[in-house]
């Protein structure tokens, strides 16, 4: 009682809160009181999720009316640069979004607060808990997850006289359909498929895995394996014979714009595209098929997590908010907004119901054919190499095998540097 009165009255409650949360050991920190007064910051990058997040904050405030959550949206392209600067000066937001490629960098540099025990790992897919664990401690509360599938435009398939994809289609079938549509509708500027190639998740990580290869295995690059080369070659072939637009065309007009405007019949993308597609003009023509398979069916699975800063001055309030973000209720709000496929087990139905096309495909893939998103301690270092080297392979400027070997070599050098 006395503590409560003090906290409500004294402006320096933050110090007290920190004191009592650090006094308990082993991560089982006390949560904040209902009338804790504090102001915390929450940073994220996806503006399309703003409505869902505002609603989550509003409902959080019903429970904790005196904790003000200031949210801060920074576009993805600037987000991690800003975060790194903030981390350098220990002014990280109290709670913020984290992704797989960046997680280990922050965890290994002691920038993150371990999760409170109130957040139960059993509520989330194991792959995500693993992705956000470092040295045996859990740091990230899984927020959502995404797998990749093929969105297709039924009207364009009909117009080109091409059969819709089936659930167990292969690379060859995919390529044939894409080529047939490009040939039939090319005069209208329509392509068979469109591939986002500025990172691996949408397309080439998947094709490498489908061919039986690995991006990274046992701390070594998998890019120089024949399977990985085959996976990259498949992507290059699509561009070479006009089934897909070139890198230059993609740079002028991003992949989602091609698809939404009916200029591409197929589109490899993840659950994150749902928010845009279900509001688009072509929503009634969209179908969803799993990714085509080669040696095996495969998609990378990745998910975002909410994390709390170790340097937070309002740890108890941050922890209360983080716990709410990780709750079933917050997951349902996100699912209903169609913003993301929530990670909380059992809340995905609302997401599946958020669009007229079949989103169940993404869940089935997650269960049956998903592979963890490739990361290491400094993922950004070799992501940069991918972005520098692979365009020449995809455009046909250099042989795929030659680029893959060079990439593997440089990536291995970057991986070796991580452990110094």
């Amino acid at each position: 009682m006395r503590r409560t009165a003090l906290m409500a009255a004294v402006a320096t409650s933050a110090i007290l809160l920190t004191a009592c949360s650090t006094s308990t050991n082993g991560g089982s920190t006390e949560t904040a009181d209902k009338d804790t007064t504090a102001e915390i910051s929450y940073a994220y990058w996806d503006a399309t999720q703003k409505d869902a997040i505002d609603q989550i904050i509003a409902e959080f405030n019903e429970e904790y009316p005196n904790i003000t959550v200031k949210s801060d949206v920074t576009p993805y392209s600037e987000y991690f640069g800003k975060l790194q600067t903030q981390a350098s000066s220990d002014t990280l937001p109290d709670v913020f979004w984290m992704n797989g490629p960046n997680f280990q960098l922050y965890a290994s540099n002691d920038k993150l607060e371990p999760l409170p025990d109130a957040i139960d790992p059993a509520d989330y897919p194991q792959a995500l808990t693993d992705l956000y664990s470092y040295d045996g401690a859990r740091y990230g509360a899984p927020k959502d997850y995404d797998t990749v599938a093929v969105f297709y435009n039924k009207a364009l398939f009909d117009e080109a006289g091409v059969e819709y994809p089936t659930d167990d289609w292969t690379w060859d079938e995919f390529h044939e359909k894409a080529k047939a549509i490009s040939d039939a509708l090319g005069s209208q500027g329509v392509y068979g498929t469109v591939n986002g190639l500025t990172g691996g998740q949408e397309v080439y990580y998947n094709t490498i895995l489908q061919a039986g290869g690995e991006i990274i295995a046992d701390g070594k690059s998998g890019y120089d394996s024949p399977e990985a080369i085959r996976g990259l070659q498949f992507v290059a072939d699509l561009i070479a014979d006009g089934s897909a637009p070139s890198l230059e065309q993609l740079s002028d007009t991003p992949q989602n714009v091609w698809f939404v405007n009916g200029k591409s019949a197929m589109f490899w993308s993840g659950t994150w595209s749902n928010a845009e597609l279900r509001e688009s003009a072509i929503v009634d023509q969209i179908g969803v098929a799993p990714l085509p398979k080669d040696e095996r069916a495969a998609t990378v699975i990745h998910g975002l997590a909410n994390v709390a800063s170790k340097a937070s001055k309002n740890k108890a309030a941050a922890e209360a908010f983080l716990t709410f973000l990780a709750s079933e209720r917050a997951a349902v709000i996100q699912a209903e907004a169609g913003a993301a496929l929530p990670a909380f087990n059992g809340t995905q139905d609302a997401f599946v119901a958020s669009a007229p096309y079949d989103l169940q495909v993404f869940l089935d893939e997650a269960e049956n054919s998903s592979f963890p998103y490739p990361v290491s301690k400094n993922t950004a270092a070799w992501n940069k190499l991918e972005n520098e080297l692979l365009p020449a392979a995809f455009s046909g400027e250099r042989p795929v095998a030659e680029v893959a070997k060079e990439l593997a070599e440089k990536m291995n050098a970057a991986l070796a540097e991580e452990d110094e």
Binding site: S77, G81, S88, E248, S251, A380, P391
Partner: protein, 316 residues
């Protein structure tokens, strides 16, 4: 006010050291004191926001940074890497190329300025405003418009070209073409600024010269070449110094027009863009070394221009 105050204080201080010989230097010293006081606020700002960062940058260029700000001294390693870095060489060439395109805009600006300064031109102010508009408009907004114009598949430019049977490239994402496209936008933006400076310079040319020339039967073109251009050289010199500096600092247009994930960026980027790329990936020490190179390049080329101006600039 100031005048009396200066002398007043001077006299008061003079009284203190005593008689005779120190009088002159005392006056001088106190004048310098006052001058310093007036200069100080500005100097403090310049020192804090310009000089100190340059010194820090120089220091950083000899260090290597960890992901979260911890840096260690590595001597000249960054510079050694820089001189063997093919991307840096390419970036320097690109920067020169872009600057060359910008410089081509100067004759254009001189010509337009002479048109705008024709006596009796109607709506001269409207034209001036129209030319100046791109210079004051937001670069990001300009970039959005030009992106749409230059779009390879759906852009107006390629549509226009298709009407005469030409298939245009993806202007902003094709290696080699992209730099020219960016250069054209750069010329278009800088035209307004150059026009204003050159117009002002033209106003300073005595009209009698033109009268005399036309009495002697010189055509307008002849007058332009033998009166306007030579007497305008001081303004042209100023504009070209500014153009070279802004050309060397090319960044925002590349960033906004092409975007960071552009496949042609690797081969099109400027030195400042390469600086930015390295900042983004946390190679702050290396980026600082690039910053020093930019400083040296700008310094050398500006000095060179001042040296060469003696050969072609006419001061009346």
């Amino acid at each position: 006010m100031t005048q009396t105050a200066v002398h007043g204080t001077g006299a008061a201080e003079d009284a203190a050291p005593g008689p005779g010989p120190s009088r002159g230097t005392g006056r001088l010293r106190s004048d310098i004191g006052w001058a310093m006081m007036f200069v100080l606020p500005l100097f403090a700002g310049v020192a804090l926001f310009y000089l100190w960062p340059i010194v820090r940058n120089l220091w950083f260029s000899f260090t290597e940074w960890g992901p979260f700000g911890d840096s260690k001294w590595v001597g000249v390693d960054n510079y050694v890497d820089l001189f063997t870095d093919a991307t840096m060489g390419r970036a320097i060439l690109n920067t020169f190329g872009y600057t060359a395109i910008l410089l081509c805009g100067i004759p254009l600006a001189v010509y337009f300025a002479s048109l705008l300064n024709r006596p009796g031109l109607r709506f001269a102010n409207v034209f001036r405003a129209a030319f100046f508009l791109p210079y004051v408009a937001m670069p990001a907004a300009i970039a959005m418009v030009w992106r749409i114009i230059f779009n390879g598949d759906f852009g107006i430019l390629n549509y226009a070209l298709s009407l005469v049977g030409i298939t245009g490239p993806s202007w902003l994402s094709t290696e080699g073409v992209a730099l020219v496209a960016v250069g054209i936008v750069g010329v278009w933006i800088s035209l307004g600024f150059n026009l204003i400076i050159l117009s002002a310079g033209m106003k300073g040319i005595p009209p009698e010269l033109y009268e005399a020339a036309s009495l002697d039967g010189a055509t307008r073109w002849r007058q332009f070449l033998t009166i306007t251009v030579p007497l305008l050289t001081p303004s042209i010199f100023f504009v070209s110094v500014m153009t070279v500096i802004s050309g060397f600092q090319l960044f925002d247009l590349l960033y906004a027009l092409m975007g960071t994930t552009n496949p042609a960026m690797e081969k099109t980027q400027s030195v400042v863009f390469y600086f930015f790329t390295n900042i983004k990936t946390g190679d702050n020490g290396y980026a600082a070394a690039i910053g020093v190179v930019i400083l040296v390049l700008v310094g050398v080329f500006t000095a060179l221009q001042f040296r060469l101006q003696r050969k072609w600039v006419t001061y009346v």
